[in-house]
């Protein structure tokens, strides 16, 4: 009795052990979260570090004199003639005016600073305002891609600078005086794809994604919810139902590229739908998203308290009324959350869309469900595979746009859940 530790002593000792265990367990958890956060931080730092410059563009602000002689224009009032006029010459002249005298002898080097599309922009501006002819205007144009790369990445040796030593000197000087400047790259959000990096934007891909997602949502949400309600509420408990259930779960695990193959074989080859269009993309992504929506909707239906069901049945509601009046309203927030998460997955999906041809180079911004289009993640894929380094920063910028949409959708899901599920 005497050499036995008292019970209190034993408990104290076991407590100490228990506390140690708990501390260890908690530190494992914290470590796991720290690793996850670190990975996330590295991802974000890398993408933002590479991509922030994609949101900037280099511009040249010039005093352009719209002189008919320089533009080799005989009758400045003639509309057709004006369209044929030389719009490069006034730009070149204006830029030369900003540069040291030796530039006069090197028109090619001077032109190399201005974007190929600058003359187009000038032409459009003059077509819209014919009265500008003969006057001098201060206008801002895109700098050439080479200048853009030099402005943003002169200290980064992964980028090769194509400007000559002399041109670099000019650019340095102009940048100092503010003639050449970096500003927000609105082109990124107003243009479709382009072979010229300074003209390339993600608007086409955003619209393509939007149309594709609309098709996906319009199909997968009603079908998924209806399937979930049937399986959960009305399906008889038998082998067929079990078989369907197992296969829905299997479908959720099928690699997405398989759905692309299916889409190619069925929608395009069998049904003869066109390639590269949002309708087919949406159909394929619907197949991919359906299992997610069905599974989460069933979980939402299961989580409706049985007491509500009982109450409704007890008062004489039919099966249909129980489902429509009570189960569905209570399960809807959960269903919507699941669907938004499924949609977010679909938004980030690339592989199946490559197979149905949504990987083509498309300059025009799609205006409908049957216009050729690409989507954001495919645009990222296209640009990041480009040999031109100026596209790489745009790929990173496109990733940021995509991530913004994804985070926005997930935040919406969380908000919906908080907002609607609190009712009971």
């Amino acid at each position: 009795m005497t050499d036995q530790p008292s019970q209190a002593e034993q408990v104290r000792r076991s407590l100490k052990r228990r506390y140690r265990k708990e501390r260890r367990f908690r530190s494992y958890g914290i470590a796991a979260i720290a690793v996850a956060l670190l990975a996330l931080a590295i991802l974000f730092i890398d993408i933002i570090g590479k991509g922030y410059s994609g949101f900037l563009k280099s511009t040249v602000t010039l005093e352009v004199t719209l002189d008919s002689d320089v533009m080799m224009l005989e009758d400045p009032t003639d509309k057709t003639a004006r369209r044929m006029a030389d719009f490069v010459a006034p730009l070149q002249q204006a830029l030369m005016a900003e540069l040291p005298p030796e530039a006069q002898d090197q028109p090619r080097a001077v032109r190399g600073l201005i974007n190929n599309y600058a003359s187009d922009a000038l032409k459009k501006a003059v077509a819209a305002n014919p009265e500008w002819m003969g006057s001098t205007r201060t206008m801002t144009f895109l700098a050439s891609t080479d200048v853009d790369v030099y402005m943003k990445h002169q200290s980064d040796d992964r980028y090769s600078i194509k400007l000559s030593e002399q041109q670099q000197g000019w650019v340095d000087e102009l940048a100092e005086r503010g003639v050449i400047d970096l500003s927000f790259n609105d082109v990124l959000f107003t243009n479709g794809d382009s072979r010229n990096p300074s003209q390339a934007g993600v608007l086409g891909a955003i619209m393509g994604s939007l149309f594709t997602m609309l098709v996906t949502l319009a199909l997968s949400f009603p079908i998924g919810v209806a399937a979930a309600i049937y399986l959960e509420e009305f399906a008889p408990q038998n082998k067929v139902t079990d078989f369907i259930e197992v296969n829905i779960n299997n479908l959720a695990a099928v690699p997405s590229i398989i759905f692309g193959l299916l889409g190619l074989a069925v929608f395009i080859n069998l049904f003869g739908l066109p390639r590269s269009v949002p309708v087919v993309g949406g159909l394929v992504l619907t197949l991919m998203t359906l299992p997610t929506i069905i599974i989460s909707s069933r979980a939402a239906i299961k989580s409706v308290p049985p007491s509500v069901r009982e109450a409704a049945e007890g008062i004489g509601a039919s099966k249909m009324q129980v489902v429509m009046h009570h189960v569905l309203p209570l399960a809807l927030p959960g269903m919507m959350t699941g669907s938004i998460i499924g949609m977010a997955q679909a938004l980030g999906e690339t592989a199946p869309l490559l197979l149905i041809g949504m990987v083509a180079f498309i300059v025009d911004v799609p205006g409908g469900f049957l216009d050729s289009a690409t989507v954001l993640p495919v645009q990222v894929y296209l640009w990041s595979g480009s040999p031109e380094l100026a596209f790489i920063e745009r790929a990173s910028a496109a990733i940021m746009v995509l991530l913004t949409f994804l985070i926005g959708m997930n935040a919406l899901a969380v908000w919906l859940r908080r907002r609607l599920e609190r009712r009971w």
Partner: protein, 289 residues
């Protein structure tokens, strides 16, 4: 077998159960007291209820008279809820649940194929153990039944039904200014009285109550019991309770169930003052339960 051991009353079973007229169907002998009534609303004969292969209710015969309050008592797991739920076919939605025997309400078979459950439940309302108002407003809770059964043609009629039902459950004064407030924000006792209001809103003939006070505090319980006494004037009430005092206070007759058997049923007074079966006596004197 397991349930027998779990309740720990084997001794009582052998002592009290082995009466002279014990048969395989009725190990505790025939039901003592007065299971039958002259003016029967429910006539239940040889009712057995199975969950899969196991019988939860075994050959129970009982009448429920017009406008009486009858309470079911017995140790937990003895089948009170199961039996109660057969009366409005709430067991239909349980997989593998099967009912045998003859059950009639006002002479009509409850379980015949042609019987419409919706109509049955409009006539036989139910109040559950845990208050289970819909996550909607007070008004919508009470108005739900009349709405789905098409009992009101105009809004004013519906308003009348809602007011009458809430008055009937003694809740009107407390909630008349807050009819749009969500029902889930009220106290347990108020919620249970709301559930009673919801049940009587469709003017049922019978109200089934499964331990309606077990989740309530004593004051709320007292209110609900008072309400039951008031309702007994216009409704037939079948109430399951685990509280013998409650059975004694509210009911005209009391039925004692044991392991799926109806052991004894009689005037409440009779059951509590001079029980005829030893099992009943053991239970009401608190020797098990």
């Amino acid at each position: 077998m397991n349930t027998m051991n779990a309740t720990g009353i084997n001794a009582a079973t052998t002592e009290g159960g082995q009466t002279a007229d014990a048969t395989e169907d009725r190990p505790y002998g025939p039901t003592r007291g007065q299971p039958f009534a002259d003016e029967a609303r429910f006539k239940l004969r040889d009712v057995s209820v199975y969950y899969g292969e196991t019988a939860a209710i075994k050959k129970v015969s009982l009448d429920v008279a017009r406008n009486e309050v009858i309470s079911f008592i017995g140790p937990s797991g003895c089948g009170k809820s199961t039996f109660l739920r057969t009366l409005n076919r709430m067991n239909d939605s349980i997989d593998g649940c099967r009912v045998e025997g003859q059950l009639t309400l006002d002479g009509e078979d409850i379980y015949s194929d042609s019987r419409d459950v919706v109509e049955l439940r409009a006539r036989v309302g139910m109040v559950f153990q845990k208050p289970n108002p819909f996550p909607k407003s007070i008004y919508d809770n009470v108005a739900y039944g009349p709405r789905i059964h098409g009992l009101a043609n105009r809004k004013s009629e519906l308003d009348d039904i809602v007011e009458r039902s809430l008055r009937g459950s003694g809740l009107w004064e407390e909630v008349k200014d807050r009819l749009d407030a969500p029902a889930t924000g009220f106290s347990g006792g108020q919620q249970q009285r709301l559930c009673i209001a919801r049940a009587i809103a469709v003017s049922p003939e019978v109200v089934l109550m499964d331990e309606p006070c077990s989740a309530l505090d004593p004051i709320a319980t007292a209110k609900v019991e008072e309400l039951i006494s008031e309702l007994s004037e216009s409704y037939t009430i079948v109430i399951v309770t685990h509280s013998m005092q409650q059975a004694a206070r509210v009911s005209d007759r009391t039925a004692y169930f044991h392991l799926g058997h109806l052991v004894e049923v009689d005037e409440t007074n009779q059951v509590f003052t001079s029980p005829q079966h030893e099992l009943t006596e053991s239970y009401i004197t608190g020797r098990f339960g």
